[in-house]
Each structure stands twice: as structure tokens, then as C-alpha cells.
């Protein structure tokens, strides 16, 4: 039992020191660092390194909903430093009603603290999803929407980013692996002072998600996935899936790739429109007049 305890402690230390080592060291070279830092026999450390390589189950497979939630909150706070919130309670409630209707019908209705939606006070055409379910849409993109169904199309796309954990996957793999290893090994030892390393990994993770949201955009694969699954989600709830085509066409006509915002961080809309049409297939358009008035009333002020 004692050997097992030390063995597991080494696994924990390995994860933490990898973080402290600045993420460039391999498991093998880190073993020497850990051995010298902890006084644990190097062979034992090396065997721990071998286990990490051969048994990835010692690391978490992904972040827990709680970890994802706290990561997402700090991502959201940083987004709100750049874009102030648009304080319009009736509009906020309207957006949340649309968003919740979609989120609850999604394949991942339960995140740690649920989905929540907020309008950003900017003309920039954009929408963001922080890990865990905090979703933002700009006044700029809402002004382009010609119907509730088009707002639903924008929100459905962002909800799928949360559902598929695209934000988490945007964290550079080596850092994500180190964080998962450190967090996965954390339970086995309370003796290792790993706070600093985890804090660094937390900050790196937040920065990587923000860079993706604000500068680089998700991968083409992630965007295609969000587009196509969103079509299914819209259909599931009863919104018009063709609204996705309409809002994307509008974005194609209005967005300027050299400006910050949606066009900079998303694939060329003409490609997306074709792929969304393919995802819609033979589905008939849905036309309902019952929601036009509330749409006009809710967006009257923006």
C-alpha cells in the first residue's frame, strides 16, 4: 500500500512538475526533475512516467463539468472586459427564452450551472460560447437577424460549440493534457504543492480559449460540426432550419473579413451556406407568424 501511495504520488507530481517545467519537457526528462525535487528514487519516478505514457487513464479524459464551468466563467469575464453587456432586461429575457428552449432540447442540456445568454453592447457582428454554457451575442449580429428563427439559428450554433466542448478542445493539446494529468493525479496526493502549476495551466487554458474566440476561430471541422448539428437542433425544437441559410447569407453580404468579429474568426460564409443546405436536405421550411410580433418588440431598441 505504501509503495502504491508513493507510486501514485509520483504520478501526481509528474503532472504538476510538467506544468512547472514550462511544458517543453518530455515525460522522461521530467522524471529527473521530479526525482531531484522530491527525493523519490528516479527509477520509481521513471516507472511513473512510463505508466503515464502507457496508461492515459491516469489522466482525466476530459474536464469535469465543474472544471469546465470555472474555466468558462473566467473566459466570460475576459470577454466582458472587451465587450460591455447590453443592459436591456426584456431583450435579455427574450434571448434566454429562445436559448433555453434550444439548450434544453440539445444532447447536452445539463452543464454544471446551465446555459445563460447575454447581449453584448457592440456593433461588431459576433457571437461567443464560453465553455460550460455562458453564451453571448452582439447587438450587431442581432440587428442582422430578420426573425426569431434566425436568432435561434445563431444561438443553436453556439450551443453546439458548448455541447461538443469545442472551447475545451481549442486549448493546445500539450497544455490540456498536462492540466488533465495534474487534475487527474491530484486526488492521490495532498503533499505536492501544485497550486502554482495548476494556476498557470488555468491561465493558459483561459488564454487559449480566448485566442480562439477572438482571433483564430475554431477549427473548420468544429465550425462544420456546429453548423450541421445546429440544423438538427433547430428542427428538433420546431424552428425553421432554413433560417441558418438566411442568416449565413446575410453574414456573407455584410461581414468584412478585415474587421474584428465573426468574419475574421469563421470560415468563408459561402462555403458554410452550401454545407448547411446539404445538412438541411429535403426538410421543408417552417413558416409561423405567431412569433413575429414578439421578435419585433424585443428587438425594437437595438
Amino acid at each position: 500500500m505504501q509503495v502504491r501511495h508513493r507510486y501514485l504520488s509520483v504520478l501526481a507530481a509528474l503532472g504538476l512538475v510538467l506544468g512547472l517545467a514550462g511544458c517543453n519537457g518530455t515525460l522522461d526528462t521530467s522524471a529527473s526533475l521530479i526525482a531531484s525535487a522530491t527525493g523519490v528514487n528516479r527509477d520509481l519516478v521513471q516507472s511513473g512516467a512510463d505508466v503515464v505514457k502507457s496508461r492515459p487513464d491516469k489522466a482525466l479524459q476530459t474536464f469535469t463539468p465543474e472544471q469546465e464551468y470555472y474555466l468558462g466563467r473566467t473566459v466570460a469575464v475576459n470577454l466582458l472586459k472587451r465587450y460591455p453587456p447590453y443592459d436591456d432586461p426584456p431583450l435579455t429575457r427574450y434571448i434566454n427564452l429562445i436559448g433555453q428552449s434550444l439548450a434544453q432540447a440539445s444532447d447536452r442540456p445539463a452543464t454544471f450551472a446551465g446555459y445563460h445568454f447575454l447581449v453584448l453592447d457592440t456593433e461588431e457582428i459576433n457571437a461567443f460560447a464560453a465553455p460550460g454554457g455562458l453564451i453571448f451575442v452582439s447587438r450587431g449580429i442581432l440587428r442582422l437577424c430578420q426573425s426569431e428563427d434566425e436568432i435561434a439559428a445563431v444561438l443553436a450554433h453556439e450551443i453546439i460549440h458548448v455541447q461538443e466542448q469545442h472551447g475545451i478542445k481549442a486549448i493546445r493539446k500539450k497544455y490540456r493534457d498536462q492540466a488533465l494529468l495534474a487534475l487527474g493525479g491530484a486526488a492521490v496526493s495532498s503533499q505536492v504543492s501544485g497550486g502554482a502549476a495548476l494556476r498557470d495551466l488555468f491561465n493558459i487554458s483561459v488564454a487559449d480559449v480566448l485566442t480562439t474566440l477572438l482571433e483564430q476561430g475554431y477549427s473548420r471541422k468544429a465550425e462544420r460540426q456546429a453548423d450541421t448539428i445546429a440544423v438538427d437542433l433547430l428542427t428538433r425544437v420546431g424552428y425553421d432550419p432554413h433560417a441558418s441559410v438566411r442568416i449565413q447569407t446575410t453574414l456573407q453580404n455584410r461581414a468584412q473579413p478585415d474587421q474584428p468579429g465573426f468574419a475574421k474568426t469563421h470560415p468563408a460564409p459561402e462555403n458554410r451556406v452550401a454545407e448547411i443546405r446539404e445538412a438541411i436536405g429535403e426538410r421543408d421550411p417552417v413558416s409561423v407568424s405567431g412569433r413575429e410580433q414578439r421578435f419585433r418588440e424585443a428587438l425594437a431598441g437595438i
Binding site: L60, F63, T64, P65, E66, Q67, E68, Y70, L71, R73, T74, A76, V77, N78, L80, K81, P85, T92, R93, N96, L97, I98, Q100, S101, Q104, A105, D107, P109, A110, T111, F112, A113, G114, H116, F117, L118, L134, A179, L183, A186, A187, S189, S190, V192, G194, G195, L198, R199, F202, N203, S205, T235, R236, V237, G238, Y239, V288, G290, R291, R294
Partner: protein, 160 residues
Amino acid sequence: MGVRTLGFIICCLAISATGWAAGKKSVQVRKGQMRQQPSFLAQVIKDLAYGERVEVISKNPPWFEIKDATGSTGWMHTSALTSKRIKLRRDNKSGKSQATSDEIALAGKGFTKEMESEINTSNPALDYLWVNHMEQIVISTSEIEQFLRQGGIQLTQGGV
């Protein structure tokens, strides 16, 4: 009682215990909604706390029919549940018990509320006020149902 009979009973007990254990799940979200039917528009019977253990009675993907510690039964979406056990730990400041995933029990040094506080202390410019405000916006199941009905929206899958 013969040795074979005893062995048979032990085997049955072992199989039964294994099956029971395999059917246990933990609520992995802050508020796990137990519903009357396997549908996102079904009435919420009760909310189960983070870390609470439940027994799975039956499955109707993506829903589990569950029984909680008090014997209440209902349906919960699979995304609210995990097979892992979640430990309770004590908050040193408030003295209250808090749930945390057992994977991150390194004296609260995971990606947790403590980490957020630490980050916020070193960077006071980060203002969580609006994020907290966002999280207070709650839309109930009946409000969603009413909103969809008023909008003339017809669910195509009866609410999964």
C-alpha cells in the same frame, strides 16, 4: 447447506452487488433536475444536489430513470450524471460541506471556486458581477413550454 449451494449463493450475491454498483450514478451538475417523464418539457419533480448518488432503474436514451436516497423516482438526462463518485469536502472558510469531483481534491487546487478566487485576487480587474448576474437568469420548464406554444412552435420529436 452444501459447499456448492453456498458457492451458488455467494455468486448470486456477487452478481447482484455488481449489478447494483454498476447502476449507481452521481449528479455531476449543481442542480440535477429529476423529471416526471423522459422529456425536457416534463415537469421537474425535484432538484438533486451535486454529488448526490442515485440508482438507475431503467434507461430510455438519453434519459435514465433513477431513484434517489429518499426513494423518489423520476427521469434525469444522462448529461447530468456520471459513473464516478463525487466526494464532499469541507470549505475551510464557511465551514460548510461542498461537493467537488474526487479527481480534483488536491486541497481545493483544481479548476474550482478557490482557483477563481485566487485568480481574482491576483487580478482584481476581473469583474465577475455580470457573469454572476447572467447565472441568475433562470427560465423554468413551464416558461419554455409557454414560450414555444405562444410562438406556434411544434416540437418535432415530442421533447427528447
